[in-house]
């Protein structure tokens, strides 16, 4: 028995070590070619390097961003390219791993010799990626790093290609609640947020506003990104019987949390979750019990901005479905970089060209599928998110009123 125990102690140590090591063992799924020369003739393609979470915690939105980037590249190439050169994407899979995303961008810049880089998905991956880009002096336009943390770390090369930062995503909803008569206004709120700067940022942006107007916080739960069992969090929220439940969520955690809440028969008067409800798979994932669920969004296919209709038509033709927010933000990233490239007239990895691209974006407004974008010195876009809600089974814009496609439902019907 003693020998057995000793073996077990050694074996257990080995298991822990191997398990930890094993978390990052898959081969990257590489796309595009990996030719390494940085010097090119004018008719060579413009090589753009990207790392995306195609597997792991952020795989759903990560693949959405991939579709957006690929559609943009195909569209650009069909329309004469950039600076009369074709664009060529090299996409690596970082497995939703922050260490991996940094090494991916190192590889893209150093080994693959890309001319430009586009950002990954999720604040947790954007920050290490942006640092690598900054170290090499590259312009870094990203589609999904919306948390305040992104803009306070001295990234002088970074631009967020969406209308608003995470903290402001729920501003229109907060304004709406503030405008409600005292007696009708929700009195208590429960918050559950992934331990992720973007996800927490969206929930806490609303939390700050609601607390200012006197809405009491009765649950404030933060969970690790790899959480799979949401039943205990749901039990806390259900037990509090909060009027509003706010999820600072990505995709799968929102689905799991909502199903857990439904299992406990908790019926909030208002329910808002970031990211997930705008995903086309969302309704079927939660058994079509969507009525009244809200989400902030930076994009709608119905928007009347000058390039939106063309984007929606092209993307739908290519992919068989209308684009969602992740796909639109990826396309927007492409539009922003393309505007800078056309504005400056260069697309190469030299420090001079990259700095010119950065300077151009600091000084100019870019027309995109999510509206005209300008940025402050830290890369924050100067806009606002729309609020969408499931109304009669369809996700519709309900706030602000001037852009609304349907009237906001309150209180939320039972799910």
């Amino acid at each position: 028995m003693t020998t057995s125990i000793r073996r077990w102690a050694v074996a257990t140590t080995a298991v822990v070590g191997l398990t930890v090591t094993g978390c990052g063992i898959d081969d990257p799924s590489e796309g595009g070619d990996d030719a390494g020369s940085s010097g090119e003739a004018s008719d060579d393609p413009i090589k753009i390097g990207i790392s995306l979470p195609l597997t792991g915690d952020f795989s759903e939105p990560g693949k959405g961003v991939q579709r957006g980037y690929e559609a943009w590249a195909a569209y650009v190439n069909e329309n004469g390219g950039l600076l009369d050169r074709q664009v060529e994407l090299t996409i690596l899979d970082d497995q939703s791993n922050a260490d991996r995303v940094a090494s991916d961008y190192e590889k893209l810049i150093n080994q693959d010799g890309v001319d430009l880089v586009f950002g990954p998905f999720s604040t947790r991956l954007v920050v290490p990626a942006a640092q690598v880009a900054l170290d090499y002096g590259f312009l870094f336009v990203e589609p999904a790093g919306a948390a305040e943390d992104v803009f306070t770390q001295g990234f002088t090369n970074l631009f967020y290609a969406a209308p608003a930062v995470a903290q402001d995503h729920y501003n229109y909803l907060a304004d709406h609640i503030e405008a409600m008569p005292e007696g009708e206004r929700p009195e208590t709120a429960a918050y559950a947020a992934m331990d992720d700067p973007f996800a927490q940022g969206t929930a806490y942006g609303l939390k700050d506003r609601l607390e200012e107007m006197g809405v009491e916080t009765v649950v404030d739960e933060v969970y690790p990104p790899n959480t799979t069992d949401f039943s205990s969090i749901a039990a806390k929220i259900a037990s509090s019987d909060a009027d509003i439940v706010v999820g600072g969520t990505q995709y799968q955690d929102a689905v799991n949390l909502i199903i857990s809440l439904q299992q406990l028969n908790y019926q909030p008067r208002m329910a808002a979750f970031s990211t997930a409800p705008t995903n086309p798979e969302f309704a079927s994932a939660i058994g079509d019990k969507t009525e009244g669920i809200m989400a902030p969004t930076g994009f709608t296919p119905e928007a009347t901005y000058e390039t939106t209709a063309e984007f929606v038509e092209y993307f739908t033709e290519e992919n068989g479905a209308e684009p969602n927010e992740d796909e639109a933000n990826a396309w927007t990233t492409g539009q922003v970089v393309a505007a800078a490239v056309e504005g400056v007239g260069c697309a190469d990895p030299s420090a001079e060209c990259q700095q010119q691209l950065i300077d151009w974006l600091r000084e100019n407004e870019v027309q995109t599928v999510v509206g005209p974008l300008t940025w402050d010195a830290e890369g924050r876009p100067q806009g606002a998110h729309l609020i969408q809600q499931y109304v009669d089974g369809e996700i519709r814009i309900v706030l602000p009123e001037e852009a609304a496609e349907a009237e906001l439902i309150f209180p939320k019907p039972e799910w």
Binding site: S4, A9, T19, G22, D26, S59, K63, Q95, N265, G287
Partner: protein, 292 residues
């Protein structure tokens, strides 16, 4: 009080699932001194097969057990005979870690190749349904998983306790050399024991799939807690694993009330360290393991 009752029920349901998932793991070590890192990978494979079965046929995932249980049993027997029986007895425990680690990676890669890395979830008509119990809600899918676990563990216990195969298996667990002296073919027993262990993985994976989002690398999330359960319960002891699973499941669920999700998950490792330091044969190993 309502939250306590709700959390207690959730903890019991979770503990039942943990017990089922850990049962095979403790059996492998009990019979063969094999540390089976790939057990949780087989769980996820079974979950994927259940998802695939339901998404292609529309039939309840529990029906897939008719195919996956015998399939996994055969795979287990073959795995023991083809791979593990070739390892030298002197270094069996350590080498089994490396070998089954490779198997786990192979399974993960295969799942990723066949089903892609997209996260999957079985959506059933009763996925969001629950039953009220003294004001608390019991999710139907969790209850089904718990009942499945209870039935499986009871059957497993009775097989080990009442059948000749079970007697041979218990004899092999207690003293392999003595078992061989009385004519037990321990090699054959080891093969069947491994098959039974993997058959429980088929059931556990299907139970898991009822109420979880699955993706190929999910098994890394499970192997740590499952290892902790069988060490705390006492190596080779099914009742010990069940008791440890229940204690850890309930503790985790109840501790989430004051401590929050992040800290409550550390309970497994705190208890594991304490067990290794103060009672290295497990809390139940000393007494319960003797029952086999």
């Amino acid at each position: 009080m309502a939250l306590f009752l709700q959390s207690l029920i959730l903890g019991i349901l979770l503990g039942g699932l943990y017990a089922l998932l850990a049962a095979g793991l403790t059996l492998y070590f009990g019979v063969m001194r094999v540390v089976m890192i790939a057990h949780s990978a087989f769980l996820i494979l079974a979950a994927y097969l259940a998802w695939w079965f339901t998404s292609t046929t529309g039939i309840d995932p529990l029906v897939s057990l008719l195919g996956t249980v015998p399939l996994f049993f055969v795979v287990g027997v073959l795995m023991q005979r083809v791979l593990l029986s070739r390892l030298r007895p002197a270094t069996l425990t350590m080498m089994s870690v490396l070998l089954t680690f490779a198997v786990a990676l192979t399974i993960e890669g295969t799942i990723g190749f066949v089903f892609t890395g997209t996260q999957r979830r079985i959506q059933l008509p009763y996925s969001g349904s629950s039953i009220e119990f003294f004001g608390a809600q019991i999710a139907v899918v969790k209850l089904i998983a718990f009942v499945l676990a209870a039935i499986s563990l009871t059957v497993l216990y009775l097989v080990l306790k009442k059948t000749r195969f079970g007697q041979a298996l218990r004899a092999t667990i207690q003293n392999k050399e003595a078992a061989e002296l009385v004519g037990i073919d321990t090699r054959k027993v080891a093969g069947y024991g491994f098959g039974v262990g993997l058959a429980t993985a088929a059931i556990g994976g299907t139970a898991l799939a009822l109420d979880a989002t699955i993706y190929p690398s999910l098994h890394w999330h499970w192997i740590g807690p499952l290892m902790a359960i069988i060490v705390v319960g006492g190596l080779g002891s099914i009742p010990g694993a069940a008791a440890a699973a229940m204690i850890l499941g309930v503790s985790q669920s109840l501790l989430q009330i004051p401590m929050g999700t992040t800290w409550a998950q550390t309970i497994f490792y705190v208890v594991l360290f304490a067990t290794l330091v103060f009672r290295p044969h497990g809390f139940f190993g000393g007494r319960l393991a003797q029952r086999f």
